[in-house]
Symmetry: C3
Subunit: 348 residues, 3 copies
């Protein structure tokens, strides 16, 4: 956050005394204000600090007049506490969005928007889309035909949702993620060319899921790719067609789950993990970052590591010996020579 | 797919008898209809099933009147079979797109569009772009100056194509992928700073290629980065500058090919594979998921695994012993003690 | 690059003699012109080559008349050298952008743009954004509230920048990257559900940084995620919340740095590397592609490899023995049998 004294004064309808270009990066207390911060003087008890504070800007009541020269820029307002509240709300707020539908949004006449929908500029909403109450759909989002979106959903800029997908309540999807693109399905024909297998299913994202930026969730070939209730997906994740992610699973950035695999409830998957297709992972399994899971995991709550992934402790133990392999090899050579010597001795 | 009885009635110009909010997720036969499905009654032979079916919605002819109380919502239409055809086409269709050029698309006057071009809202097409027949360019796509696009191409929402790239016939590019961004090329100057090396080449995507979502293909520094005819690339893939991908190669999600490397025809590359720069991979090579290929692969059709990648079977065999390393180490210690004992015995 | 003779003639205000549809993919010299190239004739000394050149198009002065039949298409212009300069500039230029603000850009009235700002179509700029001089902001970019952007910045199509982020001078960000999305922070509540931890910080990108396509840099939970001056990030990279990247660091594609970790100055990180959270990596460290760094690296300039990463040479040495593990195991078995024999012999 960086804002000038002048911009703050505009937000608060205040007047400036001092440098209007002072840059503010955060708040501070008047008694230990740092340069680049804004503070306030409301309680007369703190009055003396205004002459010593290093804060760059101080909010004061409009009738305040300093008794001697002061360093900071003053912003004079009607009511310091009220202004402070406005400022904090303004600083802590996220990205602003129109109340209602922006004039540049393209919304098909057959689409249904719930109450208090916020639709930002350059959004595209195709026929027969349904969106619940209190939606926040940011700029440049694309929502394909017949997509169903629940209540209290936030979709950040640039997200693209293909046709027929279903998104539950309170779901959050971050910028430029793609929901429902075609699964990677091709059949080799007799002449050695790939022929596309139609991907006719959809993606279902259940309630309370959060999805990071630039993540991709492919539509099922038939049926649904499903992200279970309350699951949390980080950035740049690949979820292939027909995958089922269990309730409350957490998947860190850049992991990929290949086609038709199932991840159990409350699993915790580290970053850059790969899971091959067509396997089942039991509930509560923890997978260390960068592991490659190559077969089904049946033990609930087990912990995996490695490439291919095995038991976490076993991998660490084996890897410790991996590091000693040159020593082990020379020890083996040395033993060999000693056994040789013993054998020669015996022959003598 | 989720749609209400009321929405279906609107599509078919039919009238509703029953609950207009019944939600439909797919079709069924009347004799084994499940809740949440739509079915139809056309042949009088099946008339009795309408009183027992569990389907939520039944399409009937407009003159149909039930003889007793029935469960499902009825949608009455002029012609059940014709309506069914409309409905199936509507359900199976992808994302709708304007016939012609949407009014909010920004198309430079020097760009040339072929016949039957479909250009969706908020598309940007820069000067001297050429696009062939039957193009489907979805919303929020960006096509840079002098890009040449063939016939029958589908470009999904949010794709960005930099200047001078060339895209063949029947190519499909999924949402938010980037074609032709600058290669990662920098030279260290004497003062230790990186200086950008101009990336003046382009990307050439040959006929019948399909590219997934959020994939990036960088432009060549000089010449072309090329994706060969019929190659299929999944989501979130990185193709660096000056890479050549052979005809019919298939690359799974999240793999990356570093600068100036060549992948042969019909290679199959698993997910999350890395290929270092400046190497050649022969035709028909198969690379197991997550492998790291660190040197050229000369043997046609060979199969690789590991990090760095070696022969597939060799890696599996070595990894089996890797898992036994703690046992091997204790066996080694035990042998050591026994040899020691033998040596001591000999001294005796 | 592909352009027709006719398009070139339009750019140069020239007239065509010959095939206007001749397709040009680059320039050549008249004495060794290849089909599909354009060349020029200005110096009469080279006049004879026009009858033998294989170039598809030749730029000539408007008074030039061939003395016999010639192959190439001629484009006649007032001044060959001047036209050549225009053509070269046109060919070598990147993506064109309006001078000033495009009519379809949505710019909040409180935003401040520096001199010579170029704002392309369908850009969205939210309240209190500040952008410096000579900005090039391409189509469909989204800039959230209170973002501060320096001078001479280029932001390619589709980039999304969340609120409060700060971007320095001469920064380049490639298409569809996301700056400032929420960090992946959740706390498990007593009932086993994840509760979102507010991500109230921002991202600071210092001067002279370049960021590739589809890369994600998350905002800090508190404070700033920082990309140090002159650092270069490739495509599809994940930078988690509160990460600090040192000055001049270079990170190749698809690498990920987990939350709160620090990467030193001038580090070089290969592709698909993973760095766990909450560790420090010293200055000048080099990390081999696909490595997984699991603990802090204190030695300046050290070189790492492996999973988890260890000293580069050590990993290579251990891996060489890993490949020989089946041999080592059989050698061990053979030794075992020989020791057994010696032991038996002793008993005799």
């Amino acid at each position: 956050m960086q804002i000038t004294a002048k911009q703050i004064a505009e937000i608060l309808n205040g007047s400036i005394s001092g440098n209007p270009d002072a840059i503010i990066t955060g708040p501070s207390k008047i008694e230990d204000g740092k340069p680049g911060t804004i503070t306030f003087l409301a309680n007369p008890k703190y009055k003396d600090y205004i002459y010593t504070t290093e804060a760059s800007v101080v909010l004061v009541n409009k009738d305040f007049e300093p008794e001697s020269a002061i360093q900071p820029t003053l912003i004079k307002v009607d009511n310091v506490y009220a202004s402070l509240a406005i400022l904090m709300e303004n600083f802590n707020s996220g990205i602003s969005i129109p109340s209602g539908v922006a004039s540049t949004a393209i919304i098909d006449s057959t689409a249904r928007l719930g109450d208090h929908a916020h639709i930002d500029d350059h959004v595209i909403i195709k026929p027969y889309v349904t969106i619940g109450h209190n939606a926040r759909i940011y700029g440049q989002v694309f929502i394909g035909d017949r997509v169903q979106i629940g209540n209290d959903v936030t979709i950040y800029p640039g997200v693209k949702i293909y046709h027929n997908c279903v998104i539950g309540d309170r779901v959050i999807i971050h910028a430029n993620s793609v929901i429902g693109s075609d699964g990677f399905g091709f059949a080799k024909t007799e002449d050695g060319q790939y022929k596309k297998i139609p991907q006719t299913g959809n993606v279902v994202i259940e309630n309370d899921v959060e999805i990071g930026s630039n993540t991709v969730i492919d539509r099922a070939s038939i049926g649904s790719t499903t992200i279970g209730q309350g699951a949390k997906l980080d950035n740049l994740i690949q979820i292939a067609h027909n995958v089922q992610i269990g309730h409350g699973a957490a998947i860190a950035a850049q992991s990929g789950i290949a086609g038709s695999s199932t991840v159990g409830r409350d699993c915790i998957i580290g970053g850059q993990v790969g899971v091959v297709g067509h396997i089942q992972i039991a509930d509560g399994v923890m997978i260390q970052a960068q592991s490659g899971v190559a077969s089904s995991v049946k033990e609930v709550g087990s912990k995996l590591y490695g490439y291919p992934a095995i038991n976490y402790q076993s991998y660490l133990k084996s890897y410790a010996y991996f590091r000693k392999l040159p020593d082990m090899a020379s020890q083996l050579r040395y033993l060999e020579s000693r056994v040789q010597q013993l054998e020669n001795g015996k022959k003598d």
